[in-house]
């Protein structure tokens, strides 16, 4: 709770720093504030505190995901020096909006009441609608913003309708009260679950509600796309799982088949389309769709270890995405576009970048010795424990397809040559963040126990 207050106040503080032209203070203040927020969140560990008549429950689940969101934002801020300045002169607003979005994300992972879920999702989404349209002169950015807004508003309608039906069936917004209401057989409740599923699926880009993803990722500035792929996706899945775990778990026999179908659709839609992409950003967008499919596997297996599996997966995915999007930003800035050919010869000019990107895509693909391998491993494990062998087989086939398109980048970097490529200059922020990410991907890839037993 304290961390939520810190993040909200920090957002306003950053906004006002920008208003009074203390541009140099923006980043230090944000970083300090975020560290404080992460520390305050960690203080709530094991306390299981309820706040404001059971509106929020800061259990270990909420604390772990809050810290993950805050630290990921911190990594993204580490890359942001001199980034927004190039796009616009309202730099402070972008930091403030990302912090507002983070506050929404913290609400989404710690809600204990459907009203809070709605407010959290809205705070997060509204900030993102604006952030997607940062580049005002760029039609693609405008299109991304408008498309995201219209589709998002529509999806929110579904979410709200579902909430209303569930309230009608159970008489409460409180997750514990819903879980103990025993109204799982009523058609009203079931319709509500399905509608909420539609709304949430949109937010985490699960097929067939994913169509906005590639266009919005492509139109948004790289750093914002990175934010969407990491913080937003983590918050969305944490909220999805929390809702289904704490409120709808008893009714899982009813919704499991729907989630299974969504899972298959998402896996195939994401992976097969990603194969045909020749721009790296779009490839990452489609791969983010496919990762939503793997994460759905864990939701299917609601139970004790599902939250742990989702946590490991989102940590691995966030780390790898930060690195992949970060290098994509560098390359497209230096070479003019994010076409896969632009990565040719990167291994010769920038061995460190090539190595980091290799590690990142290996982690995304789930190659052993990287964090991503254990992400997939735990997700498959919980799904197998629930008897979804056929789904896991399909998911493994998809992971194979994934390896094919992820390796296209590695081949471009190491096997292909680009005669007139020059070395890309890194600023200290990039160097630091990428080093941290490389270290963590290896660390969690070799000692998965560090994160696997948190929850």
């Amino acid at each position: 709770m304290t961390s939520l207050i810190i993040v909200s106040v920090l957002a306003v503080a950053v906004l006002y720093l920008g208003l009074f032209k203390y541009k140099t203070a923006l980043l230090p203040v944000s970083v300090t504030g975020l560290l404080a927020a992460a520390a305050m969140a960690a203080m709530d560990w094991d306390l299981e505190k309820m706040y404001f008549s059971e509106m929020m429950l800061f259990d270990n689940y909420a604390v772990a995901f809050s810290i993950l969101l805050i630290l990921t934002t911190l990594l993204i801020f580490g890359l942001s020096r001199n980034y927004f300045e190039k796009i616009s002169n309202n730099v402070a607003e972008y930091y403030a909006l990302m912090l507002f979005a983070l506050a929404g994300g913290v609400v989404m992972v710690s809600f204990h009441n459907l009203a809070m879920l709605f407010i959290g999702i809205e705070i997060l989404s509204i900030s993102l609608y604006v952030l997607a349209g940062i580049r005002r002169k760029d039609p693609a950015s405008n299109e991304a913003s408008l498309k995201y807004f219209l589709m998002g508003a529509f999806a929110t309608g579904f979410l709200l309708f579902g909430t209303a039906l569930i309230y009608g069936a159970t008489g409460s917004f409180n997750l514990a009260a819903i879980a103990s209401s025993g109204a799982f057989e009523s058609a009203l409740f079931r319709a509500g679950v399905l509608l909420m599923m539609v709304g949430l699926s949109f937010k985490v880009s699960v097929a067939p509600f994913h169509t906005w993803t590639p266009d919005v990722y492509e139109g948004s500035p790289g750093l914002i796309a990175m934010f969407m792929a990491t913080v937003v996706k983590t918050a969305g899945f944490a909220a999805f799982l929390r809702l289904f775990l704490m409120a709808f778990a008893e009714a899982s026999a009813f919704w499991a088949i729907t989630v299974a179908i969504l899972c298959i659709l998402t896996l195939f839609a994401g992976n097969i389309t990603a194969v045909f992409q020749d721009r790296f950003k779009r490839l990452l967008a489609w791969s983010s769709v496919s990762h939503a499919g793997y994460l759905l596997l864990a939701i299917l297996a609601v139970g004790f270890s599902a939250s742990s599996a989702v946590l490991v997966y989102t940590i691995a995915y966030s780390l790898a995405s930060v690195a992949a999007f970060g290098i994509m930003i560098l390359v497209s800035r230096a070479r003019g576009n994010d076409h896969l050919d632009s990565f040719n010869g990167l291994a010769r000019t920038n061995p460190f970048l090539a190595f980091t990107l290799t590690l990142a895509v290996c982690s995304l693909a789930g190659i052993p010795l990287t964090a991503g391998f254990f992400g997939k491993f735990y997700v498959f494990k919980v799904a197998l424990a629930q008897g979804y062998t056929w789904l896991v087989v399909l998911a493994v086939i998809n992971a194979m397809i994934g390896i094919y398109y992820y390796f296209k980048v590695i081949i471009a970097m190491y096997m292909k040559e680009n005669a007139n490529a020059v070395a890309i200059q890194l600023n200290p922020g990039f160097r630091l963040v990428l080093s941290i990410v490389v270290f963590l991907i290896f660390l969690f890839g070799i000692f998965p126990g560090l994160i696997a037993n948190i929850l």
Partner: protein
């Protein structure tokens, strides 16, 4: 203690609304029926300060109006929240006061931001 009231308490308001609408309607109809009419071309062309009208009325206009309108909606929603607070002012006491002031403070910060940013300056 829940306060009692029901939809039928709105009957007087409904009657008043009907009366008001009926008055407007009847006045319009009667003036049309009673008043003299001279339908010449000069009388029927729209009057635009003596200049003959060009194009039609559906021309796109500046985004500035929209910004003002959307800010109005935001503050409108804010003010709506004050109704339930105001009627319960006594019961909520000091705690309610603080709660409302936090809410208002947040939005006043927003208002100050809007002013400082010059979003309401028409000439800029």
């Amino acid at each position: 203690m829940l306060l009692q009231s029901s939809a039928s308490s709105y009957l007087p308001i409904l009657i008043q609304g009907i009366m008001a609408l009926a008055f407007v309607g009847i006045t319009m109809v009667i003036t049309h029926l009673v008043g003299p009419k001279r339908r010449t071309i000069d009388k029927l062309t729209p009057f635009e300060s003596g200049i003959s009208s060009v194009g039609n009325a559906r021309s796109p206009f500046s985004i500035k109006y929209f910004l003002v309108a959307i800010l109005f909606v935001l503050f409108d929603v804010e003010v709506i929240f004050m109704y339930p607070w105001a009627v319960n002012f006594r019961e909520l006491g000091g705690k309610g006061m603080i709660e409302m002031f936090v809410f208002m403070g947040m939005l006043l910060l927003g208002f100050f931001y809007v002013i400082r940013k010059g979003a309401l300056d028409w000439e800029k």
